[in-house]
Every structure is written in C-alpha cells, then in structure tokens.
Symmetry: C2
Subunit: 382 residues, 2 copies
C-alpha cells in the first residue's frame, strides 16, 4: 500500500428532511449567501421555494444557469457576485456541475488573477469560501471531495483541478430529491459512479485489499440498485444506496494507498470539451472499449470479482464475460452505447487523443497509454 | 436506511515514516504537549526516542502507565497535568486505551466537576482539547472516532462515552509500528475489529446495502490478513490492511443509517469490569455463543455472506457452519475461547447480566436480550 493522507472532513447530513438543518449550518459562516444552481429543475420540484422559506433571515444572491459542463465564464460571473455582495458562504444546490463551479468560485474569490489560472494550476488555489451543498443528483461525488472540473469551450479545454480547501463543509443528501430525475440522468449518474470506481479499482497497486473490497461493494450497489431506481423512481432504498455510493466512490476511500493516473475520465473530458456531451454517457461508452483494449495476462485477474460470474478454467473468457456484462448493463439502463449515436465521428480523434494523453498523464495509468492507444479506444467506441 | 449525520473528520496520515509530520501537525495547536502512553512498549521499540527527538522544540509533559482498561483515576491525573502545564494538545501514543483515556482527559480539562461525570453522562462533554494520535495497535478504531471507554474498578463499572468533539484531529498510522506486537495482541485486536463489524452488520435495518458490503469487505480483510500477520509479523501488506480496517470499522461508515444497540460489547464490558480481561479476548469468546443464541428464522440469512461457504439447501446448516468458522478462526489465531480458561466462573454472572442490559440498552439490540438471555450467553461461553 502506498503512503497516503486521507481527510474527508465534510459533515454529511443524510436522509429525509435534512434540509431543515440548512439555516443552522449556514449561520456558522455568516448572513450573505451565494445560492448557486443549474437549469431550474429545483424550481419545478419545489426545492427552490423550500430553501427560500428556510433562509428568509439571510441575504441571498443568486447564480443560476450553471451548465452541465460548467464554463469558466460562469465561474467568473460567480466570483464577481461574491465580491460585490461580500458573500460569506456558497450554497450549491444541484449535482456535480453546480458544486464544481461553486468550488472554483470560492477559490476565485480569494485569487487576484483570472479564475482559469486556478483550473490550469491547482497550486495557485489558496483560501476558499466555505461551500455547503444540497445534492440533487448522484454521480460525481463532488459533495464530499476536493475536485472540480471546469470547461473552456473556445479552446476545447475541460480540465480538472482541486484542493483540500475546496472540500464542502457540509452536504445535505436527501434521496427523495432524486425521485424526479430524468431516467437518463439516473443512468448516466450511475455510469459516472461506476467509472470512478473502475478508475481506482484498476490500478497498479495490488495490495490495497480494503480499498478493493470497498470498490467491489460499491460496484455491486450500482448494479443492484440502478435498475430498481429506473423502474421505480420513488424507491427510497434504491435512491439512498445510490446516493451514498456516489459520495463513497470519490471521497478518497477507494483511491487512498494507490498510485497512478486515471484513464477513461481524461479521455471523456476531451469528448465533452469538443462535443459538450453528458459526462456519464461518454464514460459508459468508453469503458468497455478501454477494458477490451487493456485486457492482457497482467490485467485479466482483476476483471472477475464484480459480476459474480460462474467460475471457469479460461480466465480470459471469464474476463470477457465480465466486460460484456458491463456493456450490457449500461445498455439496459438506456444509455446510448456508441459515439456514432451521439453524432460523433473520427474528425477530432487525433486532436482529442493527443490532448487526453497530455492532460491526463496517461503514461502513468493502470496500463500506460499513448495517443495512438487512445485513438484506437475512441475508434472502438464508434 | 435511517437518517444519519456522518462526520469522520480526522486527518489520517498513513504509511511508513509519517511520524516525520508530527511537529508540523502539533504546532497548529501550540507548544505545550501532554504525551500520553501506556506500559512502556514505545520505549522498547524506539518510538519514544523518535518522538522526543522530533519534538525537541516543544514543552512535553508525560502521562505514562495508562492501563489496558484505562481507569478514571488516570484520567483525573491527566486532567491535573494538563491544567498545571497549560497543555495545548494531547498526543496519545498507543492503542485504544491510551487514546480513549486522552479523549476524556481532553474533555475533563474544560469541565469543572469530576471527569467521571463525563463518562456517566456524555451530554456533559463540552469543549475538548485537540487530540493527535500515533497508533501502535490496530483494534478499537478510537483513532478516528468519538468514542471512549473508561473503567472504575471500585464499583465494577466500565462505561462508554463519546462526543463529536472527542474525534482526534490527526492520526498517524504507520503499519510498521505493529511489527513488534505480541501475537495475542494482534489476534485480540483483530477480534475487536471483527466484533465492531459484527455489532453493526447484525442490525434490524435491512436496506443499508452499501454499509453491509463495506462490513463484509472488512471482515474478509481480517480473515485474510490476521493469520498472515501472526505468521509473518513484519508483513507490511497484512499489517497495513489490518490497520486501515481498524479505523474503517468504527469511524461511522458501517453504522451510519442503521439504528439500534450493540450486544457483545456491553456484555464484554461487564466481564472486563469484573475481571479486567483483555477486551478483544472477551469479545472473541462471547461472539460465537451470542450468534448461536440468536440464530432464528429472522436472523439466519445474515450469517452466510462472509465466509464464502459452499451454498446449500439447508440455510440453518449453512449459518451454523459460518458460526463454527468464526469460532474456529479465533481459536486458530491463538485466542483462549472459553471463560473457564480465563479463570472466570458463574459467580458474578447474575450481576453482570443485569448490568449489561442496563448499561447497554440490550432491548434495542439486533435481537432484544434481557438479563436472563445474557446469563445464558455467558453460560454458553464457559
């Protein structure tokens, strides 16, 4: 096991009605709130009104319209709002995009230069405004971690950044907020969670047994409950387990003690940077292709512990069955499973492959990949 | 899943040589340190000297001789030392006993009355001095949680207390510190970890799937690595996984979202309060008896997921195999598996059974138990 520092300090308030604690949580920081949210689904499902009522004694400034792949322009707008209104704390209500955007706004508030510097170079992140989140989508784990991904579409850049200071102070997770999610978002969210797990599970470090068992348990959670949530959107047990899995999958538990870089996420970030697609969908498409591409004597043993397949002599046949099961699972969840279905062709593959290797340090991944490898994986995903 | 608040905020510094970060960690709080430790094993293995060298710029007051079942008298002594020397932070170097003792000292420092009040009534715990730990034994999970257990031998009381403010700020976990542990302590430590997992795994809440999968993974960790550590005390992989499992087993991950009281721990506390035995040994002895006693139509399904036994029609036969496997495992680890071997007879069973039910709220356990039930479990453990 590699040496590590683990510090997932977010206060997680989980369950029905936890939103009632919001005033008590926010008043720890002050009266001036930036309320950040996305496209307005929280106005449809009543959450916006609930929050307004609960926070009647606070001064609220709103930043709405945060994009599914949040843009640096929106971050800049948020920083200005925070400065102008002397904001004490950012309340992010939404999924990973809203939370990621809020984190970089919180860092940008204390940074004299342009916020894009903080995305390009996390070392420039200093102080960060306190972040409180109300989660309305289970996917990125941003509610309990240091990461943020921001896009700059004019240069086709979608980059991850992060700092321990960007970890949310408190996150409110009420599984009932997932009841009204469109099916594709439930499915894409689970694909994102599963991809986070795969990225950390498939790793050169072989002796982090605790972390691997946690990973398998979380994969089994998604496999068990995603179909239930799709069939019965108001199944509390399914929503609760998926929601908790999303936080556990990327709060450091699975990756601590392991070394090396991720694979599918950097490649997907290029897809999103060029075509603005749904992150989880891109990941679901890439994952089986990547798995097939890297299957070898060295990696084969890692593929068999998740799907509880009947053991057989030929371990490559078993691994292929597991990969097929992964692809079938995503398909059954209603995710379009080819780039062609998303209208993406080879036109930018070369540029994307080069950028993925560069941004993602893919030579340090579970199986080292160069631009040619990534090109082939993209081709297999057509 | 029940509503819950999860906040395991301890900064965990895990791995070889992490002790080097100690000065940097401690200086966050001040110059005056209470160095708390147990019977002196840290003087034999060199850790004491390392710490003295690292902390040459700090003012150190020592509290040594903390007992395996730490006494309230020692807590009181620690409180006095802290007050007299204006201590800023407590550095607990040891296992659960030293850390537990330090937690209550930290709380006692701010409490005007006698520290035993804080054990009898956790609601009286207010502020707590910051606690930093260096772990030298993998067992209680105290390095990452709010709990403390303190004994008062003149009244045969061993009671648990706790407060979110007693969670250590930073814990240093270097698996190499476990290399010199006596075999029985390695085994008893694993039994304690496994008991923590069982206490939370066997629970009336049936839909906390994530938590159950984590529990199964941690049990498998102990089952896999305890025998390795016993055979090869300097096996880093084994020590690292056991050490990390100890923190994960009782930091809130497994119990969040579940309701109800524990069973074997309250019963064991009575054994320790009357006979001052090793906590993990008492737990190992009680566990199979308790399992056999509560096996029923309602509980049978929960027994089969840990030991990877061959499936069979008769699920009671399978459950009994699993219980037998648990007992055999502890025995193979070298733990004396009867109370008789510890020199304990029925003399105090009635008193202990009554006290366990009262202190442990056993009517709210996985299977409700009254004093008569506890008596029978003790009898089965002779």
């Amino acid at each position: 096991m590699e040496n590590f520092r683990f510090n997932a300090y977010t206060e997680m308030l989980f369950g029905k009605g936890q939103i009632e604690k919001l005033p008590e949580v926010l008043k720890r920081y002050g009266k001036n709130i930036l309320l950040a949210y996305g496209g307005g689904s929280i106005k449809k499902n009543g959450l916006y009104d609930t929050i307004q009522k609960l926070l009647k004694d606070f001064n609220i400034v709103e930043l709405s319209g945060i994009e599914p792949n949040p843009r640096i322009e929106t971050v800049r707008r948020g920083v200005e709002l925070c400065r102008k209104n002397k904001v004490d704390v950012i309340l992010a209500v939404g999924g990973g995009s809203t939370i990621d955007c809020s984190k970089v706004i919180g860092a940008g508030y204390y940074y004299a230069g342009d916020a894009w510097d903080l995305v390009k170079n996390p070392a420039k992140i200093g102080e960060v405004l306190p972040i409180v989140t109300v989660l309305t989508m289970a996917a990125t784990g941003s509610e309990m971690n240091r990461n943020a991904v921001i896009s700059k579409m004019d240069t086709n850049e979608k980059l991850g950044t992060g700092s321990p200071k960007m970890i949310p102070q408190t996150s409110i997770l009420d599984p009932e907020y997932l009841y009204t999610l469109p099916a594709i978002q439930t499915a894409a969210g689970c694909a994102d969670i599963m991809s986070h797990i795969f990225e950390q599970y498939f790793n050169k470090t072989t002796d982090a047994f605790v972390q691997d068992k946690f990973a398998e348990g979380l994969l089994q959670t998604c496999i068990k409950y995603c179909p239930v949530a799709l069939k019965e959107p108001k199944n509390y047990e399914a929503r609760a387990n998926i929601m908790w899995a999303s936080s556990m999958a990327l709060n450091g538990l699975l990756g601590s003690g392991k070394a090396g870089a991720w694979t599918c996420h950097p490649i997907e970030h290029e897809l999103s940077a060029f075509y603005d697609i749904t992150h989880g969908v891109g990941l679901a498409i890439l994952t089986p292709s990547w798995m097939r591409y890297i299957l070898s004597d060295v990696t084969v043993d890692k593929f068999v512990n998740v799907w509880h397949l009947e053991q057989k002599e030929d371990k490559f046949a078993l691994a292929n069955e597991a990969i097929d099961a992964t692809e079938k699972f995503f398909k059954a969840c209603g995710i379009p499973m080819t780039l062609t279905e998303l209208g993406i062709d080879k036109a930018n593959f070369e540029k994307m492959a080069k950028a993925a290797v560069e941004h993602g340090a893919l030579e340090y991944a579970y199986v080292s990949l160069n631009a040619e490898d990534v090109y082939k994986i993209l081709e297999m995903s057509l």
